[in-house]
């Protein structure tokens, strides 16, 4: 069946058409319009709400997308499952614009399959009104004093990462003993947690239901912007998870020409800056930095400070340890 898809691909290769599968609010319409104006290539795009959607769609082999923007760990999986194809570097102009800090990472050594689009961190947001001083570690999220004031992401890996980091361990450890300790921490933490939520945690923070909200920088940045001076965002000093959403080309993507035309287009610093200014995420394109609005570049909730970054890790698949972790997680939730 894959072969048939490939055959189709050749025929469709020169079609002036592009199907994008991407997180919402990652691609401003006007940029796409301009691209279409310049190249005559019509861009259609659908949105997904989780990396797993990408995996499912590509695994089905009948999804017909030309570009996807999954997160780091998913990139590794997609590579492993041959669901994305190597980039034809020679057809790409502007590779040098990419920020070296996010190249050649574990999930895609040598970036044979992907390049960074935007990146961010998972720390926590807090209410400046209720918290005196400015917290800088994971401690408050595990502090009984904050009972009922804590929101944690409803996400196994992120919660374990928080716990592991607070224990000074790697978030990708496969060591059962360490995982057990982390689980203990989370078990102890549960009574303090008001709610686990990864869908609209920012609103819950904004609404004042909780004081501390474990979460992705993007959403929390929006809350901070909407309520000037009321909220803050922390990338704890013990370190946190960092994520990069990378551009990949699915195996059997059919509109080769369009794809590379588009990749060139978004690798262009000015275009990239336009995108970033519109969506206010941190860009994986270093050269674009100079064109990006300063308030974005200097917002710690968007561009995490350098020294914090050094202590951050990417989430990676931990193989069979996943099952163990999952069992712990279930226990924690079920207790």
């Amino acid at each position: 069946d894959r072969h048939r898809t490939a055959a189709l691909a050749d025929s469709a290769a020169h079609e002036k058409k592009l199907n994008l599968y991407i997180w919402s609010a990652y691609m401003p319409q006007e940029v796409l319009d301009d691209f279409t104006k310049q190249t005559g290539i019509a861009v259609h795009f659908d949105l997904y709400d989780s990396n797993e959607s990408v995996l499912e769609k590509l695994q089905s082999g009948v999804a017909d997308y030309d570009l996807v923007v999954p997160s780091d760990y998913m990139v590794r999986i997609l590579i492993h499952l041959n669901l994305i194809q190597p980039l034809q570097r020679e057809r790409l102009r502007g590779w040098e614009n990419l920020d070296p800090r996010f190249l050649n990472k574990g999930f895609d050594p040598g970036n044979r399959f992907s390049f960074p689009y935007v990146w961010g961190t998972t720390g926590y947001g807090y209410s400046r009104e209720r918290v005196k001083g400015s917290p800088d570690s994971w401690a408050p999220l595990f502090d009984p004093a904050n009972k009922g004031q804590i929101l944690m992401l409803d996400d196994m890996r992120e919660c374990f990462s928080a716990a592991l980091k607070s224990l000074g361990e790697s978030i990708n450890t496969r060591d059962a003993a360490i995982l057990k300790r982390a689980a203990e921490v989370l078990k102890k933490q549960k009574p303090l947690v008001k709610t686990y939520n990864s869908s609209d945690f920012e609103n819950i923070l904004a609404a004042g239901d909780v004081t501390y909200a474990h979460g992705y920088n993007g959403q929390i940045a929006k809350v901070i912007a909407a309520n000037p001076g009321k909220f803050g965002y922390v990338v704890p000093k013990e370190g946190a998870t960092i994520w990069v959403d990378s551009v990949c080309v699915p195996t059997g993507a059919r509109h080769a020409d369009a794809i590379y035309a588009f990749l060139d287009y978004i690798l262009d610093p000015k275009v990239n800056a336009r995108i970033i200014n519109a969506i206010s995420y941190a860009s994986g394109n270093g050269a674009a930095l100079q064109f990006i609005k300063p308030e974005i570049v200097h917002d710690p909730a968007i561009y995490a400070p350098e020294e914090a970054l050094t202590r951050c890790e990417f989430v990676e698949d931990i193989g069979d340890a996943t099952e163990l972790m999952d069992e712990y997680w279930t226990e924690i939730k079920a207790q």
């Binding site: 919402s24 609010a25 009948v62 999804a63 609209d200 819950i204 904004a206 609404a207």
Partner: protein
Amino acid sequence: MSRPHGGFLRAHTWLIYAFLYAPIAILVLFSFNKATQTAVWQGFTLEWYGSLAHNELILSAVRNSLIVGVAATMLATIVGTLVALALGRYEFPGKGFTRNLLYLPIIIPEIVVGAALVTFFGVVGLRLSLVTVVIAHVVFSVSYVAIVVRARLSGFDRSLEEAALDLGARPLQTFWRVTLPLILPGIVSGALLVFTVSIDDYVITSFVAGVGATTLPLQIYSMLKVGVTPEVNAVSTLLLVLTIVLIVVAQRLQQPPPEGLRD
């Protein structure tokens, strides 16, 4: 027959309706909310309706949802009604099997159905699109119709159909002119159920939707990452108003049947 308890029943009914509409009121309220988050009230505005007008994403999502909803409802209603008739009327090989076949889609968790379906489409090489979405929806909603219509059929006065046949109507004509009108309430209920599950299905759709097949629920969930904007409330509100208007109109158009022993 005198029915003094009608009062209590009416009161209870309206209470339940209040319960059903309480969150809807909030939903509508927030479509006029200045704030971008759905959690805090920051004053009145109409901008969301304005921005909705040129939010191609949401609009096309709505379009898709309606297409899927209507298509799935029609197909599922037909298929489900037919099988209900078969189950209610006839003895045939594989009757028990059919029964359980119909229970499965309801029993098996959506996510499993979704995963199974997408895998299957992959195997047979059926490109994901609105079509696959409709198929999926029909699959899991046939049962709703079947179950409701079947319930309606039990205790059906067969002598009425016999009378029709006796008067020369073929089975099909008998069905149209006698059976159908009499089981219509069941069919309507079934159809309403299907549309209700279809129009708001997220889990399964998220698996089987393909290029250009983003339905409203998918659109909304995808917005989670950046926070759902009140545009969604706005569009929901519009749809709500539309449907209610339609229902009221239909109600007006329906000529009052002669009052009977019932009321």
